[in-house]
Subunit: 331 residues, 2 copies
């Protein structure tokens, strides 16, 4: 299949233009040297980018292109959620072979379009090139009221540690997919969290605007890899209570696959839930669920800079980072 | 060689932190979920991103890593120049094998740092991952006074067409490099334009602020591919005079390689010069050189939407796009 680069750009523009036109912030979008964006006064901009690469982040023979399109944007938006911000627009860098320019590309753009609409983030521009493997990079511009962004560095000893949702669901989906010989069935509810994650944008924004949280980040590599980052940025330690961690314990599927729910919850990546710390006097303003998202206190921040997981008996063991690190092959 | 992702991020941060600290716009840089950027009032933001991929845009065995670092940023900044803007900060997405984490990475970061300093564009954040091949994606945020950005769409019949610098020099360098069996010698002056292009930031900003130009873009794929884009965006045509085009005609090296200087100038990519149109009554404000950059009128805009190159005898031939298109293998 032969294609000009201009044809690919036209296809992308047509698939995603509706949202771009809806967005008044993007004054000039695709088709010029660069996009023009008008920031609102009293706002800081949130800038983030994310790789989404064939073979590293998805498999062409297992992951539906619709999921690739959805997830590449959703995971980048999760960083905006983690700062307490609102997404505004994104740039799409796409490298792919011309042979995929038919239905595969249509489905990819379809998934991307649905995510773009659902999360209110318009395509502003991008770059395309020809490549044997599919490479995606997404850059997102979000905004947050000046001085309202929540950083990783604000946790203080005594603060309570919370997570949203359940942990380990995405990893469970990935394990099921890995062990299967078939391409993923997008309707399989066990795969949903892995294929179509939803960034916690409303929750992040609410927590930031109400100033309830002292530090926040999203869980992308797994609790055991991400919590140490929050603690290091804040110069603190943490004590987790294993029985409080909202794992996939109730799921027959985990047992069937011989997977330990606590291990999945501690080390599983790709959940895109929020991890945040709350000064204890503010905890009363947090109900167990906000905007239909479950919130669970899983431990507290300590002055001593070590990370400990306690079992029900009170015995503690060090939390060793076992989450996703692309340079560490073994898990 | 084994490496943790956090080590790679530390290396990048240490190499580039000085500029980040110099830049007051980037309030939070590397190390949080996302970067925070404070836009200035009365400014629009310019957003652009660019691939720079091993095998597509550079060859690991031919291109010095220092040039890879310099060029990946310089070419992204050229899009900011083309809008008449000033660069502010950038995001670096870097995928690479751990085996290159020694001197190769140091040199790449060295080139990137020099470009970052020279062009006043601070590292704000990024994403890293492990990959057999080196993949780079750069996203740049620039700014321009509100309503002063120059688009591709403003050219009108009768406007004069100008280019900065000489065209075809980068392509000549690429051809010399391709035909050589050695890695590029960064000190070879014939390769300089190919290895270390300089975006025309001062010129672009000056033209935009003085409101001298009706349309502008940068020459990245070659005049014969880029001019049609400017004309299409403006709904006009163009008539070029071949003997006016500032080619590499005087260079013995082009003759030696059996390359036609006019063909190099028309179809050669990677020059990152500016192509712009000037209403005829404003041409008197353009001297032949501004800020030591040569400016040459090469033709004029026509109402008829076709692109013609005229020889000295006055005979015209259609300008066929022969520049860089990643999806068209043959040149």
């Amino acid at each position: 299949m032969r294609m000009r680069e201009s044809e690919l750009i036209d296809r992308i523009e047509k698939s995603l233009e509706q949202r771009s036109r809806e967005s008044r912030e993007v004054r000039v979008g695709i088709g010029d040297d660069a996009a023009l964006f008008r920031p609102r006064t009293g706002r800081e901009l949130i800038l983030t980018c994310d790789w989404f690469l064939e073979g590293t982040h998805f498999l062409r023979d297992k992951h539906p292109p619709d999921s690739v399109g959805w997830k590449c944007l959703a995971r980048a938006l999760s960083d905006v959620a983690a700062m307490g911000g609102t997404p505004r627009c994104f740039l799409l860098s796409l490298a792919m072979p011309a042979s995929l320019a038919g239905r595969w590309l249509d489905e990819l753009l379809g998934g991307l379009q649905r995510a773009s609409r659902k999360f209110g983030c318009a395509l502003a521009g991008g770059d395309t090139t020809n490549r044997k493997e599919v490479l995606v990079n997404i850059s997102v511009v979000g905004e947050v009221r000046t001085a309202h962004a929540v950083l990783r560095s604000g946790a203080r000893p005594g603060d309570l540690i919370y997570v949203s949702g359940h942990l380990g669901r995405a990893e469970l989906g990935l394990q099921i997919l890995r062990r299967s010989r078939e391409p993923a069935n997008p309707k399989n509810s066990l795969l949903k969290k892995h294929l179509y994650p939803e960034p916690r944008l409303e929750l992040g924004k609410w927590l930031a605007e109400k100033r309830l949280v002292s530090a926040m980040m999203d869980l992308s590599d797994g609790l055991s890899s991400d919590l140490p980052r929050l603690c290091a940025a804040s110069g603190v330690g943490a004590r987790l209570e294993s029985e409080r961690i909202p794992s996939v314990g109730g799921l027959e599927a985990a047992r069937k696959q011989g997977l330990d729910p606590l291990e999945l919850a501690l080390h599983g990546g790709d959940d895109y839930e929020l991890l945040f710390t709350v000064p204890s006097q503010k905890a009363k303003f947090l109900t167990r669920g906000i905007q239909r998202v479950k919130l669970t206190q899983i431990g507290h921040v300590t002055e001593k800079t070590e990370l400990v997981v306690c079992s029900q008996s009170g015995r503690g063991r060090p939390l060793a980072a076992g989450g996703w690190d692309p340079f560490q092959k073994a898990r």
